[in-house]
């Protein structure tokens, strides 16, 4: 039983305690400008809510997470279906799609910042194809930049989703496919009626990790837009990083608590699903 001690001691000190601290310090005026810390009740929440920051950051985070979950899974799934057969070309292609997964998210962010500049390569390619000058500021649009950044996030992680869908496709027994074919089902029908329901565990895992990974995202947004333009891509972690840097520790803690509660709220069904799946296995 003492085998549990090291792991749980570490978890207690470095994970559980800070989380509990979150619930305490979100209600204080802790800051970098003075040494004493006083309780202030719900003041931090009221301030953040009345300035509109709280709700806009929450909305942006949820929108970002939802977009990433959709894009990453659609791309990953499409790639898995495309590269399913075990040919030499497909094996090489899979390795190529894994390169972004290994790259630092910061590096990916800088890479796309360069690609998407108004005079960057993407616009140059579009101008060349359309035969007219094109200089859209992909990362400077108040409405659509969040979608572009979510696409970049999905580009980085789609290789991982692809691998997990590939593994899911491989678990489907050949005789099930055979039976569907003998019954006269078309390829299209076989695909949607037989194969996709059997992919459910892979979908659960992929959607959950994409959703939660992007809610806790930071580096791609920081490296591409830094939260701009006009703070329209400022997800919770960007806000926490910015206010922490300004010495407004209590505000950063408050947002950190908000993020915790948001994820916890969305996570309970997910934990339930993961554990249920485990009981089956």
């Amino acid at each position: 039983m003492w085998f549990l001690v090291p792991a749980f001691a570490i978890l207690l000190v470095f994970f559980v305690l800070p989380t509990l601290f979150n619930f305490v310090y979100a209600f204080t005026d802790w800051s970098g400008f003075k040494s004493e810390i006083n309780p202030v009740g719900f003041d931090n929440f009221v301030d953040l809510a009345s300035s509109g920051t709280l709700f806009s950051a929450l909305r942006i985070t949820v929108v970002y997470a939802a977009l990433v979950a959709v894009f990453q899974n659609v791309f990953g799934f499409a790639l898995a279906v495309l590269l399913e057969r075990d040919t030499r070309l497909n094996r090489v292609a899979r390795v190529f799609f894994l390169i972004p997964v290994l790259m630092s998210a910061l590096a990916v962010g800088y890479l796309f910042q360069a690609l998407l500049k108004p005079d960057g390569s993407v616009n140059q390619l579009i101008s060349a194809v359309a035969r007219q000058p094109f200089d859209h500021g992909w990362l400077a649009d108040n409405t659509w930049t969040i979608v572009v950044v979510a696409l970049i996030h999905s580009w980085k992680w789609m290789g991982l989703s692809m691998l997990i869908y590939l593994a899911g496709l491989k678990t489907i027994p050949e005789d099930v496919m055979e039976a569907a074919r003998i019954d006269g089902a078309s390829r299209w029908r076989t695909f949607w009626a037989v194969r996709s329901p059997l992919l459910a565990p892979a979908v659960t895992f992929n959607v959950a990790t994409a959703l939660l990974g992007s809610m806790n995202g930071f580096d791609i947004v920081q490296a591409t837009t830094g939260g701009g333009p006009a703070r329209t891509t400022e997800i919770l972690n960007i806000f926490i990083y910015r206010t922490f840097g300004q010495g407004l520790f209590a505000q950063a803690t408050t947002m950190s608590l908000v993020l915790f509660l948001l994820v916890a709220l969305m996570a309970f069904p997910v934990i339930h699903l993961l554990r249920k799946r485990e009981e089956i296995l």
Partner: protein
């Protein structure tokens, strides 16, 4: 989107399933190659050619071939100016103890959690794996580290990473231990081996595949992490991502895309070399852990 390609072409052909399949077999390599070139090839090409250009040429990065190939000079300039060796060492100093610690503590705990089915272990397991999903409290952990005297130190950073990634390891390993039969451990126990010996000699070797998966994932996350590092050691200890961030945001380097991309190459190379050598193992490792 790509899955739809063969079916869209159906009305044109006489619509039998066989010719459909044949078109797809012909078309698939073309589509796959085109996607690799546009989605992966163009971005990587941009990194490579920009990293090989002179400063003047790299001010607006584009896909053109550099007039003067100076990749090697740029790499050398970044290597010395940005102090890459120190950052590289700093990264290793954090990654290696984290991986060793997380695997050791995690698999010890997972073994017990998998083998004892009591109420207490069920609760402990739920607490342990909740960290997979719940975000760590980044701000207050800094306060805690200050109180412990570990703020800004490598030990503090390692502790924070251990706290974050233990849950992932415990989740993966517990699932794996449950699939291996208990007979070997029981045999060793009746032979009078202590729990520690059983763990070291019997259990740990059996865990090799799942530990390999966990190693890959934890390495990937910790090697590339910049968010937690900002809070815990920002400015006092250098790692590669922190250093890249400083290089890229320093006014001195603004618009010095050739140096930023030279850095990206230097930083990504170790992981890409590992991928090239061990791709089959990595791919099967990641997938077998996630979907069994």
């Amino acid at each position: 989107m790509t899955a739809g390609a063969p079916h869209r072409s159906r009305p044109g052909r006489q619509g039998t399933g066989i010719s459909d399949a044949r078109i797809w077999t012909r078309l698939q390599p073309v589509v796959a190659a085109a996607l690799v070139v546009t989605l992966i090839g163009i971005p990587l090409w941009l990194v490579l050619v920009t990293a090989a250009k002179s400063q003047g040429e790299a001010i607006t990065p584009d896909l053109s071939w550099p007039d003067d190939w100076q990749l090697w000079d740029n790499l050398r300039q970044v290597w010395t100016d940005a102090d890459v060796p120190a950052a590289f060492l700093g990264s290793l100093l954090v990654v290696v103890p984290t991986v060793v610690g997380v695997l050791l503590c995690g698999s010890m705990a997972a073994w017990v959690l998998a083998r004892r089915a009591t109420r207490l272990t069920a609760v402990l397991y739920a607490i342990a794996i909740s960290g997979i999903i719940l975000p760590p409290a980044v701000v207050t952990v800094v306060l805690l580290l200050r109180q412990l005297g570990l703020a800004g130190t490598v030990v503090g950073m390692i502790g924070v990473y251990l706290g974050i990634y233990l849950s992932t390891v415990i989740f993966f390993v517990t699932g794996f231990v449950r699939t291996i039969p208990t007979s070997l451990e029981e045999a060793a126990q009746t032979d009078g081996a202590s729990p520690l010996t059983v763990f070291r000699r019997v259990v740990l070797p059996l865990l090799r595949p799942v530990l390999a998966t966990a190693t890959i994932l934890v390495c990937l996350y910790v090697w590339n992490d910049v968010f937690y590092a900002f809070f815990v050691i920002g400015g006092r200890h250098d790692t590669l991502p922190l250093n890249l961030f400083r290089v890229a945001s320093a006014g001195l380097y603004l618009n010095n895309w050739h140096l930023i991309f030279a850095y990206v190459i230097l930083m990504s190379l170790p992981l890409i070399v590992v991928l090239a050598i061990a791709q089959r193992k990595i791919i099967s490792g990641i997938t077998s852990g996630a979907v069994k």
